[in-house]
Subunit: 437 residues, 2 copies
């Protein structure tokens, strides 16, 4: 583990360094402002009504009735927080608090409220409710923000970052027209949530049009929880390469085929599974590698496996490291197939390029964390987020709060109320610092 | 490989040793008798019409219309070979040639004509057509057999040796009543082919009621074909132990779960797959061990495998060896699960006890082979056969002919016409020797 703690003293950052122009509205009183922890946790609980599962958690799949109802609730909360609400052509919900500085680009912060099927109450929801809570706090304090502040709840994060892709101009006509697994096109679905697929181009934001994007999210892994650290400062969202590999041997009768006459595809596959683990762990760093799917054909107890189809997924902040790992795995694949008289073919399915957060924003978050007295750690995000799309058009930063036992995409997902409040306070103090910079 | 060749000189067996009573009807002229090779291969080709697949081979699943039609064809052939035909209460077809020796138990020989779905034209069919051909040859020669000779075509070999189990009294009421996967009971299916499930007990034969059972069959493996040997003399049908193993880890997000925080069930499973191979191959002998089914859950590219269910199947002529192999595999299972923080459970699903062929019958077959000038090898049968049931009530012997490339249970299954003829001649000469003993 490569952990760095950002404590105020160690980071050596102060208001003087952060606010070179010396503009600090209302003096430094805002430094003691805190969100209403009870309120944000209550809103989180209220939101969990929409799409609640019998066994706990929610199934609030994007574009479903539960999602539509949840979005209406979000818009009410935004209005109650003093925001003026609109839905952009992609279906993103934007709540604006106008700023005083003419022509200044907006500071954007938020997350999503759609879930995976049988998901939990925290993934996306913590960041969305906290962003609204930050706006509510600023409204309560009548804060005279300089930049426009835009609270955003992205459309359809879970099935492919639809809302943020549209926002940065990365949704093609084909993406919109092609029917999904349910036979319904994205265009039709976007209409269901109040978007306008015919005007999708108007949702697009180019580089420079946004001052910064900040997203608070649950970690979804167990690093913070296991280490007892309160806040994660995300250094970037990992890149992902996904390879589909098929190993072919020869299916034969398990009784009549002697051991030395077999071409057993599963032996090659088993060696590859262990090689992926060995190669990925062979060097320091936080890269991960996973064989998550592995299908054996024909799959009968009395037949020597003739074919194994499996996936290899590699993730790291460095695409070069991912490629280097794959080179080693590929060589191992050649070795373990020739060893057992099998053959292979592979296809790289897709590549998500790693998105680094902005170093200055990391420093601002670290300063806010230090000022709040929280422990923190710089860490990658192993999961994908809308923030990776925003990184294409503006400086981006992410704040993580702990997931108990690292469980996510499950009704058992849990982030403790105090951690929700902590995260919302870091978001508040980060937005305030950025607004005054 | 532990191969012994039985050649006449090496075996040192002659008529004097085999026929102590000196009874050799018709002198020794019968030693030069041969089957009609063209006829038996023509019948094999004729039989392949019933249930023929568009892509070759047959789907003549037991109790199907194709099976019923094939059985009618078999009965015609039996009658043409001079046999009197009956269907016993289990549905076995028996064609008798009466003998001259009062009270002598019958010599039984035959095989089956049902196939697996999308099977080949040789598994079972070669033995069935050859048995009828032997009877036809004896009829052509007006051979005055001493024992009654019963040509048998067993009902439903492929789904569980139904016919031979009923013949030896090993079919329970529950076996008959329980609906199969298709919802139809065995009792109802037996009626479809002319059996009588209410009188199943009458099909039962006790020890001593049959003089000998001989079955000619294709090897279904590649040992004879690879070595270029003409005949296999089966020393026994291997025993089979089948274990179902479930390994449990913890399914988690492949992006957010660091390598050292995973409980990856697939890592334990991969190590076990390789351990089974290593342990089974570690000592000399013809034992085989196979992991043929392996299911990974949840089976998504981006989720660390939380559960793997797999099968281990072990086969050998010695049940003691199978148990000793399992002991070693079980210890390895303990090691590889604790190593990766996973747990396991297992259940032994069933055990087929090994069935040895009769040493005297092996000698008789070896003498016939030697006299015919064929090369041969003593070998286990890795696949199950009706002969394993018959071993409970009478001396049993099996003759193998080569399967090209060892392919079986496939439309690509092939045994060359000359090998069919060779096998039928070994069967003829074996039956003649046994009848005169």
């Amino acid at each position: 583990m490569n952990r760095r703690r950002f404590l105020g003293a160690a980071a050596g950052l102060g208001a003087a360094a952060l606010y070179p122009r010396g503009l600090a509205p209302q003096g430094t009183a805002w430094r003691s402002w805190r969100v209403n922890g009870a309120r944000v946790n209550q809103h989180l609980s209220d939101l969990s009504r929409f799409g609640r599962n019998p066994q706990g958690g929610v199934s609030r799949v994007a574009f479903s009735p539960a999602d539509v109802e949840g979005r209406a609730f979000v818009m009410e909360l935004m209005r109650a927080a003093g925001l003026s609400v609109r839905v952009d052509p992609v279906g993103n919900i934007l709540g604006r608090r106008e700023g005083s500085l003419a022509g200044a680009p907006p500071i954007l912060f938020g997350s999503h409220i759609d879930s995976v099927p049988e998901g939990g109450n925290y993934d996306g929801d913590v960041g969305s409710m906290s962003a609204i809570e930050v706006a509510h706090t600023l409204s309560d304090r009548s804060y005279p923000n300089r930049h426009p502040l835009d609270v955003v709840v992205w459309a359809d994060e879970e099935s492919g970052l639809t809302g943020s892709r549209g926002f940065v101009g990365d949704l093609s006509d084909e993406d919109l027209r092609t029917p999904g697994r349910d036979g319904v096109s994205l265009a039709e679905k976007i209409q269901r949530i109040g978007g306008n697929p015919l005007r999708i181009a108007e949702a697009k934001h180019g580089p420079g049009s946004v001052a910064a994007y900040i997203e608070l999210h649950i970690e979804q892994g167990g690093i913070l929880d296991q280490a007892g650290i309160q806040i994660g400062i995300v250094e970037g969202i990992v890149g992902i390469n996904h390879y589909d590999i098929t190993i072919n041997g020869f299916a034969n009768h398990a009784g009549t085929t002697p051991m030395d006459q077999r071409q057993n595809a599963l032996l090659s596959a088993a060696e590859l599974v262990l090689a992926v683990e060995r190669i990925v762990r062979a060097e320091p760093g936080r890269q991960v590698g996973t064989v998550g799917r592995l299908l054996v054909k024909p799959g009968a107890p009395n037949v020597v496996p003739g074919e194994v189809a499996l996936t290899v997924e590699l993730r790291d902040l460095s695409m070069e490291k991912i490629e280097a790992l794959w080179d080693r795995i590929y060589r191992e694949l050649q070795t373990v197939t020739s060893k057992h008289g099998t053959t292979f073919r592979f296809a790289q399915q897709h590549s998500n390029v790693a998105a680094l957060s902005d170093p200055h924003i990391r420093e601002v978050i670290a300063d806010a964390v230090a000022n709040l007295g929280f422990t923190s750690q710089v860490m990658p995000s192993g999961a994908g987020h809308d923030a990776q799309d925003l990184a294409h058009i503006c400086p981006m930063g992410m704040i993580f709060v702990p997931s108990v036992k690292g469980i996510s995409h499950s009704p058992a997902e849990l982030t403790r109320p105090e951690d929700v409040t902590n995260g919302a306070n870091v978001l508040l103090q980060t937005v305030l610092r950025l607004d005054q910079a």
